[in-house]
């Protein structure tokens, strides 16, 4: 049972330290907006990254020709990243679905395998080891190991040492196997991972536990012992080493093996996070050996440490106990008295802390901005006004349940901020829309009227241009020089045609000379028109090309105007209903959020109050014990003092007896002398003195 508890903790420890990295891969950037998503993801601003990625994805899916969008190049990665980011934003339910979607056939095997690993992690986080193993089984043989190493982890982008895909899969499989009770399988996997440098300490720890759980206790203890003796420099691993030694020590304590327990207690660093428990245990081991003086060595160190720590509180009782056993009852009584003072003060502090939490100050402090910047904020929290004594709840605050609830609470506060901001923005947008409407609406009808007229003229000119173009095209096939005659020529030809008509109907009206002149003129104009036809046709084409350029400009202006007119309308039209709907949804989300946030806050407060209450009850028990122990110490001290006094008095009485004998001898001499001289009686005084000494002794005994 001891090791089962530690196993879960260690597994989580490993999983958080090793699996904090995202699976976002390093790729050549093809879309700036995807780059922006990465910018936020790399800063661990998961909400911002997810919101942008969701927007990009939804916009992409609404496009008619989505293949032309540069985001298309990142699509698979984006869909995979959604799952990864959701997982980091602790949206496990959605993350699982998103990642599962990438597990379909036809996907690149490397991406598919990464998706399976990510999914396995989601399941592991959800405490579902069976599904973790199922997801890991979906991983197929790697096609090319280097591809994973090249593209695998965000850590690589951050310049950290690359992790291999295979190792991660194997380690997670081992952890899940331990959780499902498949210890033999876990042992087999972990044996193979023993040489992995990045996992070294964790592998040994879990291997030791798996061996113990599989019934191979001796071997398991040897593995843990190996970890307990390792030379390490990394702080995390040093803490794991201390923890292993502490667990081993208590294991041996449990099995009454004082010698080994002592060795493991001594291996725990004196300044490490487990040193208090180790010092306490080391003292008890010395007590078990009957060496109360030796027990005082570690306990005296612990005695000077922060009084809020429960090992220190226990040692406040243990030290006077040891002094008592060493017959230093006076010291013991003083120390019990000191312990009682400390306990009373701490109970008062705990009561105040509970009251503070009930007033809601704790939740306010948790949302303090410093918490995201100050690494040591939990401890420093106590420095804030009206905040509880956080040293009592450090362990609680480091626990997975509290951390999860706390992060959720912070996320909810952040979401509340987003909703408030959006609601405020919507009010501004509505005002902006109204200003735009007030400006545009009176202008648009006038503009529209002018536009309709211009539009009709433009259309007419365009038609004319089309006719001209058609005519010119036809003239290339069938030349029509008259079409290119100038207006003067056309007028002259009309006059000539009128004369010709007269000549045809009544030739007598016109003289021969005029008729000759008409014919000559006809020939002259026709000659001119036909001889210049080619040049005129060329000029006409050139003019048409020039016209086309002007028409192109016209079309650009026309389209620009259409867009501007459309934009002007769109700047205030079509927003009312969406804004109203979005506001309704925001209010609904705000209401729900408020309720859940209150529940989450109460949960955190309850957790903290329960912890403080538990500590207070323990202190109250200590107080009672200390009171009895103090009374007993006083008794013993008094009795010892009394015994000493009696001994002293007895010695004095013996001395007095000796003196009495001398006196008696002298008395006999005196009596003899009295007989000779009966006026003197010194013996009467001596008896009185003896009586008075005797009564003092009786008084002492009576006391």
């Amino acid at each position: 049972m001891l090791f089962r508890n530690t196993l879960i903790l260690s597994a989580l420890l490993c999983s958080t330290s090793l699996y904090a990295a995202s699976g976002l891969k390093d790729v050549e950037l093809r879309d700036l907006y995807f780059g922006e998503v990465l910018y936020y993801a790399y800063q661990d601003l998961h909400f911002d990254a997810l919101a942008r990625l969701d927007t990009e994805l939804s916009q992409y899916y609404e496009l008619d020709e989505s293949g032309l969008d540069p985001f298309h190049k990142h699509l698979t990665q984006a869909e995979f990243s959604v799952g990864e980011l959701e997982m980091q934003y602790r949206m496990n339910q959605r993350a699982g679905r998103a990642i599962q979607a990438v597990l379909g056939e036809g996907i690149d095997l490397a991406i598919r395998n990464q998706a399976a690993l990510a999914l396995a992690r989601v399941f592991y986080k959800k405490n579902d080891p069976q599904s973790t193993l199922y997801a890991l089984d979906l991983i197929r043989d790697e096609p090319d190991k280097s591809r994973y190493q090249e593209k695998y982890s965000l850590d690589i982008l951050r310049g950290k040492e690359p992790e291999t895909f295979k190792t991660d899969v194997a380690y997670l499989k081992a952890l899940a196997s331990i959780d499902t009770g498949q210890f033999a399988q876990a042992v087999e996997i972990l044996q193979g991972l023993k040489k992995e440098k990045t996992l070294k300490g964790y592998v040994l720890y879990n291997l030791g536990i798996a061996l113990i759980q599989s019934g191979n206790e001796k071997e398991g203890l040897l593995v843990l012992d190996e970890l307990g003796k390792m030379e390490l420099s990394d702080n995390g691993l040093l803490a794991l080493k201390d923890k292993t030694n502490l667990k081993l020590a208590y294991y041996y304590v449990d099995n009454a093996n004082v010698k080994k327990a002592k060795i493991h207690f001594e291996r725990v660093r004196i300044d490490g996070p487990f040193s208090n428990k180790a010092l306490l245990g080391a003292g008890w081991v010395a007590v078990a050996e009957g060496r109360f003086d030796r027990a005082l060595v570690p306990w005296s160190i612990l005695h000077e440490r922060a009084e809020t720590n429960h090992s220190v509180q226990e040692v406040l009782m243990a030290v006077p106990y040891a002094y008592g056993k060493l017959n230093a009852h006076g010291n013991a009584a003083n120390l019990y008295s000191h312990a009682m003072d400390v306990f009373a003060e701490e109970v008062g502090s705990l009561d105040d802390s509970i009251k503070t939490i009930r007033k809601g100050k704790f939740l306010n402090a948790l949302l303090d901005e410093k918490s995201s910047k100050d690494k040591n904020w939990v401890v420093n929290l106590r420095e804030l006004p009206d905040t509880p004594e956080t040293r009592y709840i450090l362990e609680l605050m480091a626990s997975h349940d509290f951390q999860q609830s706390y992060k959720n609470y912070k996320d909810l506060a952040e979401l509340r901020h987003h909703i408030d901001k959006w609601l405020e923005d919507l009010r501004v947008y509505e005002e902006m829309i109204e200003i735009r409407r007030a400006y545009q609406e009176p202008l648009l009808p006038v503009v529209e009227e002018k536009f309709i007229k211009l539009d009709a003229r433009i259309k007419l000119r365009l038609e004319q241009r089309e006719n001209l173009a058609t005519k010119l095209k036809n003239m290339l096939i069938a030349p029509r020089p008259e079409y290119l005659a100038t207006s003067t020529e056309r007028q002259a030809l009309d006059v000539i045609a009128a004369f010709e008509e007269k000549m045809a109907t009544d030739p007598a009206q016109l003289s021969q000379d005029v008729q000759q002149r008409v014919k000559r003129l006809r020939g002259l104009v026709t000659w001119q028109v036909r001889s210049e036809y080619d040049q005129r046709l060329t000029d006409a084409y050139n003019n048409l090309i020039s016209l086309d350029e002007i028409i192109q400009q016209l079309k650009i202006r026309y389209n620009s105007f259409i867009r501007t007119r459309q934009a002007a309308t769109q700047s205030y039209e079509g927003y009312t209903i969406p804004i109203r709907q979005l506001r309704t949804r925001l209010f609904a989300a705000q209401r729900t959020l408020k309720g859940v946030m209150a529940k989450q806050g109460r949960l955190l407060e309850t957790m903290a109050i329960n912890e403080l209450d538990r500590r207070r009850k323990r202190l109250e028990e200590y107080q009672i014990k200390a009171r009895f122990a103090l009374a007993e110490s006083y008794d013993r001290a008094t009795k010892a003092q009394l015994d000493e006094e009696i001994a002293r008095q007895t010695g004095a009485a013996l001395e007095a007896d000796k003196q009495t004998d001398v006196i008696e001898e002298k008395a006999a001499e005196v009596e003899q002398a009295v007989e000779e001289n009966p006026q003197d009686d010194p013996a009467a005084e001596s008896d009185d003195s003896a009586d008075s000494k005797s009564s003092f002794k009786q008084k002492l005994l009576a006391r």
Partner: protein, 179 residues
Amino acid sequence: MLKNLFARFFIPVFLLVNTIPLSLYAAEVTQEQIKGLDEQVQDIKKDVLDLTSELSRLEEKLLFPSNTQVSLFVSAAADEGFVLDSVQIKMNNKVVAHHLYTFKEIEALRAGGVQRIYTGNIKTGDHQLVASFIGRSKSGNEYQRSENFTVTKAVGPKFVEIQISGNSSSDQNISFKDW
């Protein structure tokens, strides 16, 4: 004797420091409660994310219509020796953006992220863009650079990437990529 001592002292100590799971400390808080609340929080996150996505699109449509939209992005290739302090952007001789970088932001840029530093509206046609940065090397030497670029705005939205890169901290330059 030893057994008695263990029973009297070690077992309580042992229980005290090791075997009481934290969940038991908070007797009134059950795992079901924590899990249930966590699921509710996840639901809210999903709702707010969906809403944010819709609102962002509405905001873009309202404030930055595609025919006038211009967005400027900053990227900084990984150079461990160079620390980017600030970037300033001028458009048509007006300062439109100025940003001081945090450590995390610099890391994100180095890792390949791209920062959208400015989104605004401009007319179609040519616009003068001046990008400047201030940075320093690890030894503390300060460097400043400034470069000009002509942004030609057409009908569609315009995206320009301002790239800060170089072979060494003293050799950091600005280049522009028209997307």
